[in-house]
Amino acid sequence: MIIYGVALLSICTLLGVLIGDLLGAAIGVKANVGGVGFAMLLLLFFSEHLKSSGRFVQQSSQGVAFWTAMYIPIVVAMAAQQNVLGAIKGGPMALIAGALATVVCFALIPVIDRIGRPELEPQPAEQQPSGQHRPGETA
């Protein structure tokens, strides 16, 4: 049933956000620390587990697929409620600080991309089935 997929997605999102809030409170940060990231990992683990045991059927996955397809429209709605006027009215200093940080980080992406590559390149050869993790990778 489609609702099983929607329910699984909801449970993972709620759990993830809960973990993020708890982690934030534990380390004294007034923010959700990686909640969505944890939720994504939970969904990956659960759905792979359910699929491999044959309990997550096509119909259920439609409940997740619908929201994936809704993602871009939701981003458009999110864009429509940004404080764009505020960003422009912040004056030259705010504009330059934001813009320069964006440009510098963007320009360095290929460099970081290269740093990680050599030490990780040989690994696909000894790739194991998912679900296990090797020390060092998630350090």
């Binding site: 981003v75 409620q81 934001g98 964006t102 963007f106 970081i112 590559r117």
Partner: protein, 257 residues
């Protein structure tokens, strides 16, 4: 006649989420038509839709003087629900379904390096700009630097180290500029940084950090890459909130004296 209009308005307001679906759906359709006719598909329909969204947000801000773009227009308040944190997070999490754990683990190290580098570098650049504009105290420099990290890290840091509300507003503005620039700029510059695979998407998420910008930008480049960028960028704000008022502020104070 006025009463008919009143009834129409009240129906649209009462069914705000449905109004939002309709408005966003029409916006997407217009964008895809414009993309095909005017740019022959060079500028993706979804990228155009996000720009239209931002343009509407600007108009909404000018018309109402509020901070929430079109949401401050009563008729369009449902957009706030559709594009709000709850459904946004829900939809971002759902994209993980198309990702694979093996891809995520393969890029784990570069993702983590990019997270730390992205936060520190944005902070330093933002702080340097603040100094160039004549700020000399550590609190101001750190608050603006944190704003260049994201528009959430700015106010969290500013509040923690006792910055004035004017400074906090500036730091939010810096973060907003970043978010808007990433949303708009990513589709144009994606090919120059090789943004076409999960690994680069994770590095991109870690370096840019601003979740709305990263997810909007990636959606316009290739929706398949969204989960990888979202994964790292979601840890970025948390890391920024952690480092901003502590390590980064102390380092700034030590350097400025």
């Amino acid at each position: 006649m006025t009463s008919t209009l009143d009834i129409l308005t009240s129906v649209l307001v009462k069914n705000g989420l449905l109004t939002a679906f309709a408005v966003v759906g029409i916006t997407m359709w217009v964008s895809y038509v414009l993309s095909a006719r005017l740019t022959r598909g060079h500028l993706q329909g979804s990228a155009l839709a996000i720009m239209l969204g931002l343009l509407m947000a600007y108009i909404g801000g000018v018309v109402t003087g509020g901070k929430n773009g079109v949401v401050d227009i009563k008729l369009l308040s449902g957009i706030g629900l559709l594009g709000g944190a709850m459904l946004r997070d829900f939809a971002i999490v759902s994209t993980a379904y198309g990702a694979t754990l093996t891809d995520m683990r393969k890029c784990g190290v570069s993702g983590i390096i990019s997270l730390f580098l992205g936060v520190v570098l944005s902070f330093v650049v933002g702080g340097a700009v603040a100094m160039a504009f004549g700020y000399t105290d550590a609190v101001s420099i750190a608050t603006i630097g944190a704003g260049a990290v994201t528009y959430i890290v700015g106010p969290v840091t500013g509040a923690a180290i006792g910055a004035s509300s004017e400074l906090i507003a500036l730091s939010i503005a810096a973060g907003l500029v970043k978010s808007v620039m990433v949303m708009i700029g990513t589709p144009f510059f994606a090919k120059y940084i090789g943004l076409d695979n999960p690994r680069t998407a994770m590095v991109f998420g870690g370096m840019m950090g601003t979740t709305s910008g990263v997810c909007g930008g990636l959606a316009a480049v290739d929706p398949k890459l969204v989960p990888y960028g979202a994964m790292t960028s979601t840890f970025y704000t948390g890391l920024g909130c952690l480092m901003g008022p502590s390590v980064l502020f102390f380092a700034t104070r030590a350097l400025i004296g």
